[in-house]
């Protein structure tokens, strides 16, 4: 889905939030398309939850605007915004049973009794919890409680659903299961969802687009593969997946190779045909799985080094390879053969497809 072709349902314009001297959100602008699954991804304290709270109306922006379906909603009370929200700790009402919990938004909107029943049936079917109407939230497991919270947030047909780390409290297996289920619900309802998480894998699995946040700012917005294959900077490269960052100064350059001095004083030769001048500071990034071992008589420009450590991860082996005096990089290799692979202390040459090495 290309967000630019669809009209945005939610727009953030220079949204800023200060808490005392702390700038929690710093002039964030973002358009979210109708039907999109957008994830705000970032470490804790990066401002992603504050953005969600400003969209929901729990926090008042210091400056900037939140625009929902073309209307500025900054001054609207949370109960007037008609936005669904799923909280990390479920926030189900413990004194009400499941039926009354899901009926709450409908009763607040003065729906007729018959329609309330019908909508709750549909909502419970959507999250596969039919027959649980009379239970109390405390009698349900964490995953079931989260489904109830989801049903409650969707039952009044809000145009936008906010999810604040909704799977954070679940164990790994259940979390993965719920990711897929949420994705199915998103496809089924085609509802716009804004999802907050610090889990990069979760963001990659579920999102149409991801906005990577750091220190109150958006570092990069893009589809999961864009962010993974073309990270805009070191933060994104390091936060999404694993990356080798090679920083240094150009000593000289020929047509297709670059001689490059890195921080530990050693010189490396990298295949690179971009435009650079000697003396220029450069950073490169390359994913561990994009590199492979080549024969010692390989003539193309490549890196050589010594294997310092071998870590067995199951489907792959991770090699820590020293390429300079102290500088090491990680290389991942699929375990194709039982007992295959390389050993510690071995001298190796590593290469990659040209486009895998990215300047950042």
């Amino acid at each position: 889905m290309s967000p630019s072709t669809k009209k945005p349902i939610l727009q953030l314009k220079d949204l800023t939030k200060h808490f005392g001297n702390v700038v929690a959100v710093d002039a964030v602008s973002l358009d979210i398309a109708d039907g999109e699954f957008l994830t705000l991804l970032g470490p804790s304290g990066s401002g992603k939850t504050t953005i969600l709270n400003m969209i929901a109306g729990f926090e008042f922006p210091t400056s900037g605007e939140v625009i929902l379906q073309g209307e500025p909603i900054n001054l609207l009370l949370p109960e007037r915004r008609n936005i669904g929200m799923v909280f990390q700790n479920y926030a189900l009402f413990p004194h009400m049973n499941i039926f009354d919990n899901i009926a709450f938004p409908l009763r607040m909107r003065k729906f007729q009794k018959g329609e309330i029943g019908e909508r709750i049936d549909n909502a419970l079917e959507l999250v596969q919890l039919q027959g649980y109407e009379d239970r109390k939230p405390q009698q349900l497991s964490g995953g079931q409680q989260q489904r109830v919270a989801l049903a409650r947030a969707l039952v009044f047909d809000p145009p936008l659903l906010l999810l604040d780390e909704p799977l954070g409290a679940l164990d790994k297996k259940l979390r993965e299961h719920m990711q897929i289920e949420l994705k199915h619900i998103h496809t089924q309802l085609n509802r716009t969802m804004v999802y907050v998480t610090h889990d990069q894998e979760e963001a990659l699995v579920m999102s149409n687009r991801i906005a990577v946040m750091n220190r109150g700012k958006i570092e990069q917005v893009g589809s999961p593969d864009e962010l993974y294959e073309k990270p805009a900077n070191e933060f994104v490269a390091g936060f999404i997946g694993e990356s080798n960052i090679i920083k240094g100064q150009v000593s000289h350059k020929t047509n297709d190779r670059l001689t490059f001095q890195i921080d530990d004083g050693s010189e490396l030769q990298l295949p690179w045909d971009g435009d650079v001048k000697p003396g220029e500071e450069m950073s490169f990034c390359i994913r561990p799985e994009k590199m492979f071992f080549v024969d010692v008589d390989y003539s193309e420009p490549c890196l050589s080094g010594v294997i310092e450590e071998v870590i067995y991860v199951g489907e792959t082996k991770r090699y820590k390879i020293r390429i300079g005096r102290r500088k090491t990089i990680n290389v991942r290799e699929m375990s194709l053969r039982i007992g295959g692979g390389r050993t510690q202390g071995e001298e190796v040459k590593i290469a990659w497809h040209k486009e895998s090495l990215r300047r950042i």
Partner: protein
């Protein structure tokens, strides 16, 4: 080996200590029950004979009924007023943006730490000027002063434990601030409010010091009636009154344990 033996001695000592405390605290209270059945015109233990006439007297003699009803009225109004003021005060102190919240909190609790006789003395002077001595509103006011701290203590504890995201969820789902309070906050802190209400009721029902100062001569509360009964002619009606008190207190404790049990359904494992 030696440590184990020592621990066992320790256990025995604690048992003896607890037993002694139990005997001195509880036994005199419970003794009033058999004494109320004594067929004598004075209090005696062990009771002589068996009669219900003192209980009958308590429930039929206007000398006892009027003060009892007055005490119940006083305790009910005091409880209602204390709960409203205490709950609102607790909300202000937990949720409100107030300068010096901690000092305010301590101030609200201070009547609990002030000796009752001091409060009584202070209130007496003021009430004499305001012509509140011997009036129901005056007593309600005085009892509210000593009951509000109980409410504040219990309800603030409840509010501090309250998960705020539940209120945010209610607002997000379309409830105004007032509806959120009525439908979400209040029902969730209700057990605390009920417990505080029972404290208030009992506190007001058996309070004597303030009543001695502020009662004047026209009306009587039940504790005051019991007190003068003991002073002038000790007959077992006072024991019968105590028995009624004990039964009522045990009843409320049982009711309270049922309420708290009902609010905490069994947690289910994942």
């Amino acid at each position: 080996m030696r440590n184990q033996k020592r621990m066992e001695y320790g256990k025995i000592l604690i048992g003896i200590f607890a037993g002694t405390v139990f005997v001195f605290l509880v036994v005199p209270t419970i003794l009033s029950v058999p004494m109320s059945f004594s067929d004598t015109n004075y209090l005696v233990f062990p009771p002589k004979g068996l009669t219900l006439k003192w209980h009958h007297k308590f429930f039929t003699d206007q000398k006892w009924i009027t003060p009892t009803l007055f005490s119940l009225k006083l305790a009910s109004i005091t409880t209602a007023v204390s709960l409203i003021i205490g709950t609102m005060g607790s909300l202000a102190m937990v949720r409100g943006i107030l300068p010096g919240k901690r000092i305010l909190h301590l101030f609200f609790l201070s009547p609990m730490m002030t000796p009752l006789i001091v409060t009584a003395f202070a209130v007496y002077g003021l009430f004499a000027k305001l012509h509140l001595i011997g009036t129901l509103p005056g007593l309600v006011l005085a009892h509210t002063v000593i009951c509000v701290p109980y409410v504040i203590l219990v309800v603030t504890a409840n509010l501090y434990r309250f998960d705020l995201s539940m209120e945010l969820a209610a607002r997000n789902l379309g409830a105004s601030a007032f509806k959120t309070f009525m439908h979400v906050t209040l029902p969730i802190i209700k057990p605390g409010i009920i417990a505080a209400g029972i404290f208030c009721f009992i506190e007001s029902l058996d309070e004597l010091v303030l009543v001695l100062f502020l009662m004047g001569t026209t009306k009587m509360t039940l504790p005051l009636r019991m007190f003068s009964n003991i002073q002038f002619r000790i007959n077992p009606t006072v024991a019968a009154a105590s028995t009624v008190f004990i039964v009522a207190a045990i009843g409320t404790i049982i009711a309270l344990s049922f309420i708290t049990k009902a609010e905490k359904p069994r947690k289910v494992e994942e």
